[in-house]
């Protein structure tokens, strides 16, 4: 456990001292700020964070890979992976440590966005249900997106490749529900169910359905498992 902590702590320090993370934070807040205020310009604005959440998950398709691309790809590139893998550290400890670090940075971003919720609560009388549920959904979605990015970072020693592949997977997951109609039959249904949106929309409507929570947790577990396996397989190449 101490090694997980050590790996995570080192990565967190790098996040808070690297420009990439701050640029990601800046873009996230600027864009989501725009989504948040967009609706407020209406003559009869609704006190809701739904546009913020809907925008945030799209923005995160691009930003999650930017946060995770460095995690293992850089170790491979610098050769430090050689020291990491020859230290008495289990492969899962490395993956979980790195994942936790990206999660911490993501949660800080989420916390910064509480500003929007606070504004709503101060100046209006929003329905709290969709806001709490929406945040739960967004945190689950973000955690899943980070696990996807971690996997692709484990697979390549090129950060750009890692980021682009992760974006591809996240986009595919985002649009998967469209396959529902296009493919049809059982296959279409299965692909459609793997889509992110169907599972996320419930949250931003204020519905906390266990199915959706299980969906996101399974996605995270699946990609973390693959990451650990991929790291293990590096030894065999």
């Amino acid at each position: 456990m101490r090694t997980v902590q050590a790996v995570a702590w080192k990565e967190i320090q790098i996040y808070f001292s690297s420009p990439t993370a701050y640029i990601v934070g800046l873009i996230f807040l600027a864009l989501t700020g725009f989504f948040f205020t967009q609706d407020l310009g209406d003559p009869f604005p609704e006190a809701t964070l739904t546009p913020f959440f809907d925008g945030a998950i799209v923005v995160f398709i691009l930003l999650a890979p930017a946060l995770t691309m460095r995690l293992l790809a850089e170790e491979s590139k610098l050769g430090t992976i050689e020291l990491l893998l020859t230290s008495p550290v289990r492969d899962w400890e490395i993956i979980i440590g790195k994942y936790l670090a990206s999660l911490v940075f993501f949660l800080v971003l989420v916390a910064l966005s509480f500003f929007y919720a606070i504004l709503l609560f101060v100046y209006a009388d929003p329905d709290p249900g969709p806001i709490y549920a929406g945040y739960l959904g967004f945190i689950l979605y973000g955690s899943a997106a980070l696990s996807v990015g971690l996997l692709t970072s484990t697979m390549s020693n090129n950060q750009i490749v890692s980021a682009v592949v992760a974006m591809g997977i996240l986009l595919a997951m985002f649009f998967a529900d469209r396959a529902f109609g296009a493919v049809g039959g059982l296959a279409g249904e299965i692909i459609g169910e793997m889509g992110v949106r169907g599972h996320f929309d419930d949250f931003s409507r204020g519905v906390i359905d266990t199915t959706n929570i299980v969906y996101f947790i399974s996605v995270i577990a699946f990609f973390l498992f693959l990451s650990i396996r991929t790291l293990e397989s590096r030894r065999w190449r």
Binding site: R2, T3, S17, E82, L83, S87, P88, R90, R237
Partner: protein, 311 residues
């Protein structure tokens, strides 16, 4: 301390090392000497548990590096050839991190850090960002991380490559000091370095160990052997003594592969025995089906080594 048996490693279809066997005793400094691309790094990566061999086993203090990898890795300190460092960390930050990964307690790290910084003479650069250090200092940081957890086995891949001559001398002195308490395996392609540092030398070329000796004997250069592979059609019982009887032949091994008799002859270097052998075979009424020199002679390998220091 280290026991390697039948190590073979393939990168795709290409063998990097083939059937490498060696042992290292506790407290010994063993040198791998060979030209670039001979398989030194591959061997070291296998010893340190970075990758498993395609075939063969390595045990380290009795622990198999594949089966009991964690236990084996606990006992190794490793300096890869590229000296991988996190360039945006400070020297102490980096060493603390590596110490934690090797399972040291914060308290142990604190006391050990003082010693290591002292041994590697990093005193004035404790707080410096690694990216700003010169190559020689990075090398020292690399050695410092390899010894911070007081490993029983120290594996150093080309530890003196690419640093200036004064630093080379210092690094060698440091390795020599470390070798008093620890088992050290190092690789190099510089011949004099081996004689300065090592108790024993393995010469490796094209993935095979071609010689093993003390630096003193190697320096005398008289231990060289040429290897010949001959396929002869004739009764092995008669062929063997004839081959062994040739002047200059040290050893003959015989393999019978479905009636194809192949003999591997180890002969003293420098004398070409091919003519003698073919004449003897024909003279005895046997048939000569194949005759070739195997691999390079030691002399040729030495020619490809750096036999003097480039200043």
């Amino acid at each position: 301390m280290i026991q390697a048996e039948g190590l073979t490693h393939y990168y795709g279809p290409y063998p990097a090392i083939q059937d490498v066997n060696f042992g290292v005793r506790k407290g010994e400094i063993l040198g791998f000497l060979g030209p670039n691309g001979a398989g030194k790094t591959t061997t070291m990566r296998i010893i340190t548990g970075f990758m498993p061999p395609t075939r063969g086993t390595v045990t380290l203090d009795g622990y198999d590096v594949v089966e009991q990898s964690l236990e084996a890795r606990r006992r190794v300190g490793y300096l890869p050839e590229t000296v991988p460092l996190y360039t945006d960390m400070s020297v102490t930050g980096y060493l603390k991190y590596m110490g934690t990964l090797r399972g040291m307690s914060p308290k142990a790290i604190k006391t050990r850090l003082v010693e290591v910084v002292d041994v590697c003479r990093l005193g004035d650069y404790r707080k410096t960002q690694i990216g700003k250090l010169s190559k020689g200092f990075r090398q020292r940081v690399g050695i410092a991380q390899a010894i911070i957890h007081e490993p029983q086995v120290l594996v150093l891949d080309e530890p003196t490559i690419g640093i200036d001559p004064i630093q080379v001398v210092e690094t060698r002195r440091l390795i020599k000091d470390l070798g008093r308490d620890q088992t050290v395996v190092l690789s190099t392609h510089i011949l004099p370095e081996v004689s300065m540092l090592c108790d024993r030398v393995l010469i490796i070329n094209e993935g095979r160990i071609v010689a093993e000796d003390t630096p003193k004997n190697l320096a005398e250069g008289l231990q060289g052997v040429d290897r010949l592979e001959v396929e002869i059609g004739g009764p092995a019982a008669e062929v063997l003594p004839v081959l062994k009887g040739i002047r200059g032949v040290n050893e003959v091994t015989h393999v019978n592969n479905d009636g194809r008799h192949t003999y591997t002859i180890q002969a003293q270097a420098g004398q070409d025995l091919r003519d003698t052998i073919s004449q003897l075979v024909i003279g005895n009424g046997w048939s000569l089906r194949g005759l070739q020199m195997v691999g390079m002679s030691l002399e040729e390998i030495f020619l490809r080594l750096t036999t003097h220091e480039e200043l």
